[in-house]
């Protein structure tokens, strides 16, 4: 920052703060409304609607959800398993493929094209649906949430390939070879440790897309055993008494759906759904921004 600011600089500062401040506010307000609504008393919410300043507060929605914790907890578990499995398998497959593309192998141009072409042309969702459900029969298995679409993509492979090419000195790989290390040894003990930044970034982006995914569940899962968190959210969105109809709790069976704080419960389950992400965000925010940046600019 220079000592002297021009008048136009000062004006620009004010405009920038006002516009960005307003945008920040509008990014946050819906979340604030969601949280406040989830703590609003049910009868108050049905009468006066959701607002930022309710006059009657209650924990009723959360108490109800705690009652149904076995369903929500299970959905959390599925989401965790799928996120970890998918990110891990995807990273292993994509890094090995990307590394192979940096080696001097026969048919490298063809293999490069094989990868890039997947970005240009796709068979569309109906053909994908047919392949995964009728050829591989993954409906209502954990793999239904892991395999279709998300596991790896050409874009990340190209990013990894460029990173390997630009950041790992060929002489290092050569000297490992002279020391007698095979391809896999070299890859694991030399290439991967030097590639931590790109691995962290791509791993994070992949984990986020698994955590947020609800479409695979929509297409391939209709059994409660494999409902992920996002799918439970989606099901409640479509049918507010979804939890009650799947419940094994005595209270729900006895009272039916009459006693459910339907209105505020919707808001509370969404809060529970976004909580882990919001808590973790400050810690991975830096990598997230980096992931967006490298994803947009060509290698």
């Amino acid at each position: 920052m220079e000592g002297k600011m021009y008048k136009s600089d000062k004006q620009m500062q004010t405009i920038a703060h006002v516009v960005l401040g307003l945008m920040t506010l509008s990014s946050l307000l819906p979340f604030v409304l969601l949280v406040i609504s989830s703590f609003t008393e049910e009868s108050y919410a049905t009468r006066y609607g959701f607002g930022f300043f309710p006059k009657a507060w209650s924990l009723g929605a959360y108490q109800y959800l705690m009652n149904e914790w076995n369903q929500i907890g299970h959905a959390y578990l599925i989401t965790f398993i799928v996120t970890i499995l998918g990110t891990l398998i995807g990273m292993v497959c994509s890094t090995m493929l990307a590394y192979g593309l940096t080696r001097d192998i026969v048919g490298k141009a063809f293999l490069n094209f094989y990868v890039v072409f997947t970005m240009l042309f796709s068979g569309g969702i109906v053909a994908s649906y047919y392949v995964w459900s009728n050829l591989f029969h993954i409906k209502n298995t954990i793999w239904a949430l892991v395999f279709p679409g998300l596991m790896m993509n050409a874009f990340n492979i190209i990013l990894e390939k460029n990173y390997f090419n630009n950041n790992i000195p060929e002489s290092l790989i050569e000297s490992a070879k002279i020391d007698g290390a095979g391809n896999i040894r070299t890859f694991i003990s030399i290439v991967l440790p030097l590639s931590k930044p790109i691995l962290a970034t791509i791993g994070l982006m992949s984990a986020i897309s698994y955590w947020n995914d609800w479409t695979n569940g929509l297409y391939y899962v209709d059994q409660a055993a494999f409902y992920s968190l996002q799918q439970v959210l989606n099901n409640i969105n479509e049918n507010a008494s979804f939890l009650a109809s799947n419940s094994t709790q005595m209270s729900s069976m006895l009272h039916g759906t009459a006693s459910i704080p339907t209105t505020t419960m919707r808001m509370a389950i969404a809060v529970i759904g976004i909580l882990p992400m919001v808590i973790a965000y400050p810690f991975f925010q830096k990598y997230f921004v980096k992931g967006i940046t490298i994803g947009a600019v060509k290698g």
Partner: protein, 320 residues
């Protein structure tokens, strides 16, 4: 020096090795690549063969392979359907608005972010504006519902009464949705696009600005004469990518935010939501596969054409 001397001949010999030796040397690498290649085969290439579904009169009891061929019948049905023109119009129009307005907004916001001196405010604004991008569309649908719900929504209960207006049945009135969907789309994605352009602006050398300042150029002059022209390659690259996707739509946005309400289809149905509803809700495989294949083929042609155009005018920005 000796290390370098050893490397040079090593490289020269690899080139001269016969094909057979090179294949043997490639083999372990192929094995490493195999899982990834197989995945792409299953996830991307098999569906490309699956395009034949659109040319078949599918009979599940016979299986796909034995089902009779339908020629272009499925496409004929699709193009005759009244819904088709509507969903294509919606998809393309939304995309045009998102591309044009989205680019302008994102660049404007990125420039403003770049103007902020305080590091604290800069990073706070950036991470909070980016927060919505981190949320799934299901969650965003809940957020929209808190505002728009007919009975309990904030807009109908607090905002409209305060302005002295009658409540609106949002989820039954198609005419409001172009605005709602555009707003929600920007609310979620502006942070993402802002970060992209901001990182491009960061890449512009400070020397340009210093020179401009010495020449007496104010902020506005610097933005119009340095920042915006130097952003051109980024804009063009992102533009081709978006044009290639002009026939595609974000399924989450158009399915979740209008809550898949039939009454809203006039302004919310896009090719992707149509395909989903036809396939999963109506079990109409001929129409859904035809629409899906049409989308892929047009998308493919558009990417190739857009890239060719860019290659001609701004070669470094071309994708391939």
């Amino acid at each position: 020096m000796p290390a370098k001397g050893r490397e040079m001949p090593a490289k020269a010999t690899t080139k001269k090795k016969p094909l057979k030796t090179r294949l043997v040397l490639s083999l372990p690498v192929y094995l490493m690549m195999l899982p990834g290649l197989l995945y792409l085969f299953c996830n991307n290439y098999l569906p490309i063969f699956g395009i034949i579904i659109a040319f078949k009169k599918v009979n599940w009891s016979l299986g796909l392979m034995k089902s009779p061929w339908a020629g272009l019948d499925n496409f004929e049905f699709l193009l005759k359907s009244r819904e088709t023109a509507r969903m294509i119009r919606n998809t393309v129009l939304y995309n045009i608005v998102f591309i044009v307005l989205g680019t302008i907004l994102a660049i404007a916001v990125a420039i403003l972010l770049n103007e902020i001196y305080s590091k604290f405010f800069k990073s706070t604004y950036q991470s909070l504006i980016l927060l919505p991008y981190l949320m799934s569309w299901v969650v965003v649908s809940y957020l929209a519902y808190a505002f728009l719900s007919n009975e309990t929504g904030f807009v109908n209960n607090s905002l409209l009464p305060a302005l002295g207006k009658d409540p609106v049945n949002w989820y039954q009135n198609a005419r409001y949705w172009p605005f709602i969907l555009t707003f929600v789309n920007f609310w979620k994605s502006i942070g993402f696009n802002m970060v992209i352009y901001y990182s491009s602006i960061m890449g512009i050398s400070a020397e340009y600005y210093e020179a401009a300042r010495l020449d007496g150029a104010g902020k506005w002059k610097q933005i119009t004469n340095i920042t915006i022209p130097l952003l051109r390659p980024t804009v063009i690259t992102l533009f081709i990518m978006s044009v290639g996707r002009i026939f595609a739509s974000d399924f989450g946005l158009f399915y979740q935010i209008p809550r898949n309400q039939g009454a809203l289809y006039a302004t919310t149905q896009t090719i992707d939501t149509y395909v989903y509803n036809a396939l999963m809700r109506l079990g109409n495989i001929s129409m859904s596969s035809a629409a899906s294949v049409l989308q892929s083929i047009v998308g493919f042609i558009l990417v190739i054409v857009a890239n060719a155009i860019v290659r001609r005018y701004e070669e470094n920005s071309a994708l391939f």
